[in-house]
């Protein structure tokens, strides 16, 4: 069911290799005939006081208006006293769920060939509250906040996702044996939602045990839902199983149908501008955006072209052991369309 009325989507090419991989997405989407007009917004060189970050207010407004966007890497400066761009986007746009499918790519060998899971991360609270202070000299504390509202919301998203995507099981990841109140509330909310989905198997797995099981036998997992920091950790671990963040897409889901797809790898300043970057994660994130827009035909077409190009192995970027440039790899994908 492909739409023909063009849709306007926000595009944040981002920093470093961002503009090159965004170029790749535009090329592939145009070749596939995707009816999207991109509204491009760049990271600013000055802090916008309205967002307290290098992200301008106008760019946030663009996503709010279009309700859909695609985002490349934005460098997060450590300890410079201003807010991370990634977090600013998630918080300002109330992007409450971060969805990361993670599956073994045919033809791209890692130690695992049987990964096929989805991590769904609460994206607005938990250990990312930003509330920290010094109690006395040499004693600092940070607050982890868990709310019933955000926990129910992400749990509902996870179960609904499982149901509508033919998934059978949802695992809630936690450390409620230690954080009985915070993670306990998260689990309580998951259980409440689980009751509404009797056709989906529900289980609870302690985070340390989950990580051990993931590296031993990732095929045990299907959909995983969890508080913010655990999601941060486990989604990267899972990406590592199939080759890394250069190959795995993500999409941030907000209220009222807002979706911001996002490549979560770094901006790789060392290779920026050299036509060496691997656009796969941004392309696959773009595919998630298309599915969100119900442009399923183009989504599957582009998805197959990416997968087949990588599987054939003739054109691969350096990070995948090949010697293709970004443009050569992009052209190979277009030739598969």
């Amino acid at each position: 069911s492909s739409s023909t009325t063009p849709i306007t989507a926000t595009l944040f090419p981002g920093d470093g290799i961002g503009p090159e991989i965004a170029e790749s997405v535009k090329k592939v989407f145009t070749t596939a005939g995707v009816p999207i007009n991109w509204e491009e917004h760049y990271v600013s060189t000055e802090i916008d006081p309205r967002t307290q970050s290098f992200l301008t207010w106008e760019s946030l407004e663009s996503v709010r208006r279009n309700k859909v966007g695609l985002k490349g890497p934005m460098a997060t400066p450590i300890g410079k006293g201003h807010r991370s761009l990634n977090l600013t986007l998630r918080k300002e746009l109330n992007l409450y769920a971060n969805v990361r499918p993670c599956y073994s790519l045919p033809g791209y060998k890692t130690r695992y060939d049987d990964v096929n899971l989805i991590t769904i991360r609460e994206n607005t609270e938990g250990e990312y509250s930003g509330l920290e202070h010094q109690v006395v000299r040499g004693v600092v504390e940070s607050l982890k906040i868990i709310t019933r509202q955000a926990s129910l919301r992400v749990a509902e998203y996870a179960f609904h996702y499982a149901k509508t995507h033919g998934r059978e099981r949802v695992s809630a990841i936690h450390k409620a044996n230690i954080m009985q109140k915070t993670d306990g509330l998260f689990l309580k909310c998951c259980r409440e939602v689980a009751e509404k989905y009797p056709e989906i198997t529900y289980e609870e797995v302690v985070i340390d045990n989950c990580c051990m099981m993931l590296v031993k036998n990732p095929a045990l997992f299907d959909v995983l839902v969890m508080p913010n920091l655990y999601g941060d950790i486990i989604s990267d671990l899972c990406a590592g199983l199939v080759g890394g963040l250069g190959l795995t897409p993500s999409c941030n889901i907000g209220e009222d149908g807002v979706a911001l797809a996002e490549a979560v790898h770094g901006s790789a300043p060392d290779i920026a501008g050299k036509n060496l970057a691997n656009p796969t994660a941004l392309l696959l994130s773009g595919v998630m955006m298309l599915r969100h827009l119900k442009m399923n035909e183009q989504a599957e077409q582009i998805h197959s072209a990416i997968i087949n190009t990588i599987a054939e192995g003739k054109y691969r970027t350096a990070d995948l052991g090949g010697s293709s440039t970004t443009t050569e790899f992009t052209k190979a994908i277009c030739d598969h369309l």
Copy 2:
């Protein structure tokens, strides 16, 4: 340099399979002629009001007096309102560092054959503060506490360990890009200690990236030091790389030379009493205890016997794909001595 004056050590056989694997350790140690008298303490069936747990005050006193002990698994009841036995031990005995060596076992195949690292976990504070409360209905918070004193202490332990064990690099694991004050203080302390050890390479790795690197290429790591929860997560992940908690030892280090070696796997109530349990983790933890006591000759002898028995593969317990009983496996180790 083996001591001949017998030493008294506390032994907590623990729950479930604990007594069987403790029996195995006693047998192997006796066969190797280790000069240790065990002072056995069992988990109680009643909560001792002085410890608020099933662990008696007398058993804590035993470790305080002997300064050395070995501990089997103790079941941690979830959400029953009393403290976990493992945590009670760590807190009451001020066991500030949890040391877990993790290496590929020759002859026991996993997806990784190149793991050789040590995780050193801060064991007394962080996310394990136990400080949690409900702010308003539906909003709960938990406090993560990082102190300069505990961070310096565990960092000092990690660098000293690296230096005295021929290790080259210490990686501090953190999420200071998000928790700038708490994890920031932890890093600051690590940096201070690193300056005193110019011969050891020091690096800082963000926890999500660390997990991705660990599953892609664990050989990148040597000694890892980190706050409590990250240590909990990463040590289990690393154990998973080489086969699981049934094969990996640990030792908790306290002030004044106190050491409590510990098998950190579960109590496996399903197979308890059936002579099916794998004693390897407790045996290897016992070896760590012997090294701590400078009984290096017996430590190496027992270590080799365990490793060779597993490598030969003739006698293995069911969890390792074999069909030996605990006693058969134990006897095979003794025959290697």
